[in-house]
């Protein structure tokens, strides 16, 4: 559906409870949306997942792989 809000919350480098709080701010302002929160640790991952479920969102977790190349 092209009119679904797609929003990204990048909280890499942040520690608890910032990831949940930032995601909540975005969710409060845009309750019907696809919100992607990018975290860099398991605690944040688990907490944001809990937040999403508590709000009735369907939650999917995807692992991002960073690839770097050098000569």
């Amino acid at each position: 559906m092209s009119n679904t809000n797609e929003l990204t919350v990048d909280v890499r480098g942040s520690l608890c409870p910032k990831p949940v709080i930032e995601t909540k701010k975005v969710s409060d302002a845009n309750p019907v949306a696809v919100i992607t929160t990018i975290v860099d640790n398991e605690v944040s991952r688990d907490n944001v997942e809990k937040f999403g479920k508590s709000r009735g969102y369907g939650v999917a977790i995807r692992k991002m792989v960073r690839i770097s190349t050098s000569l």
Partner: protein
């Protein structure tokens, strides 16, 4: 208005080094002790105790951390209440305290440290102890705490060990400060966070004074290792099994909702990994695991007492504020 928690860059949750990591370290550290020592870290007791005579022993403890609240005066109060708590948990009375300070100079110049020290001072004054000095270093993150010396009768020391089958546990403060401190950082759940802050800045003195009227089989204070961690310390030192009914645990308002929202501190996950002698009923909603392992800051005293005396605690003290004698949580303690 300074927001102290904004200055915390590492850890954020002011967590202790994980118990499993710490235990590994301590295993490789050579113990240094002598025949005067009545209590130390080997028994997972709350403070060190040194015997001076048949009627007098010294109690020694220290605690410090990074801010978990924004207000400097409150931070000082909570740090002091937290540090003094271990003396009460051994059945002792605090005598002196010293300030442990690491602070960024700009905050010092704004008067923030002064407020922290005065906040702590007000709580130490309430305990009857005196502040006799301290030490400070410049540090990027604010750190504050206290080193405390107290006294206890060597024959009346409360230890973690001694809980008996058939005992009931009494917990003198509500649970959930870790979760509520997270809520506080996000300015959420004002009811629950206010209760938690009041609880954290309350001395365990009154709870201890009430307890001195009764038979105490074992005592510990509930702090960073969570209700589960400290209960395990008591259970394993006493060689018994402790059964806790989750729904009987006294919680601050909003704790369940805040935990369900994911306001769970990193230390809760750390505690869960480190504390292995706990079985959580599979029928319990998963939120309970977050609550059971929630690290407490300046938590209450956990007493194991004969079941027959429990009613005596409540009867004369029903007019005391709820934060003094809260709930009878525990249940049966039975042989493992």
């Amino acid at each position: 208005m300074v927001r102290l928690t904004d200055y915390v860059t590492s850890g954020g949750c002011a967590c202790k080094i994980g118990p499993h990591i710490l235990n590994r370290v301590l295993k490789s550290v050579t113990p240094v002790t002598n025949e005067h020592i009545l209590a130390d870290m080997t028994g997972a007791d709350d403070a060190g105790v040194y015997k001076i005579s048949d009627t007098l022993a010294l109690v020694q403890t220290l605690d410090f951390f990074t801010p978990m609240v924004n207000d400097p005066i409150l931070f000082g109060k909570i740090a002091a209440a937290n540090a003094l708590s271990d003396v009460y948990a051994m059945g002792g009375t605090p005598l002196t305290a010293m300030n442990i300070v690491g602070f960024p100079v700009p905050l010092v110049e704004q008067g923030v440290l002064t407020d922290v020290l005065n906040g702590a001072g007000s709580i130490v004054a309430e305990s009857g102890a005196a502040i006799v000095g301290g030490h400070s270093i410049e540090n990027k993150e604010p750190i504050f705490g206290m080193s405390v010396t107290g006294q206890v009768n060597p024959n009346r020391i409360w230890k973690n060990k001694g809980a008996q089958v058939g005992d009931v546990l009494i917990l003198t403060k509500r649970i959930g400060t870790g979760i509520m401190n997270n809520a506080l950082k996000g300015d959420l759940f004002t009811a629950g966070t206010e209760q938690a802050v009041t609880s954290m800045s309350t001395l365990n003195r009154v709870g201890a004074e009430v307890a001195h009227n009764f038979t105490i089989h074992a005592c510990t204070d509930v702090t960073g290792f969570s209700l589960m961690g400290h209960s395990v310390e008591m259970a394993s030192a006493s060689d018994v099994t402790i059964h806790i009914k989750a729904y009987d645990i006294p919680l601050f308002d909003d704790v369940i909702e805040a935990a369900q929202m994911g306001l769970v501190p990193a230390a809760s996950y750390g505690n869960r990994k480190a504390i292995t002698d706990v079985q959580v009923d599979q029928n319990l909603d998963p939120v309970w695991t977050d609550i059971l392992f929630d690290p407490q800051t300046s938590g209450g005293l956990l007493f194991s007492v004969p079941a027959s005396e429990v009613i005596n605690w409540l009867r004369p003290y029903t007019n005391l504020a709820l934060t003094v004698l809260v709930l009878l949580v525990l249940l049966k303690v039975s042989v493992a």
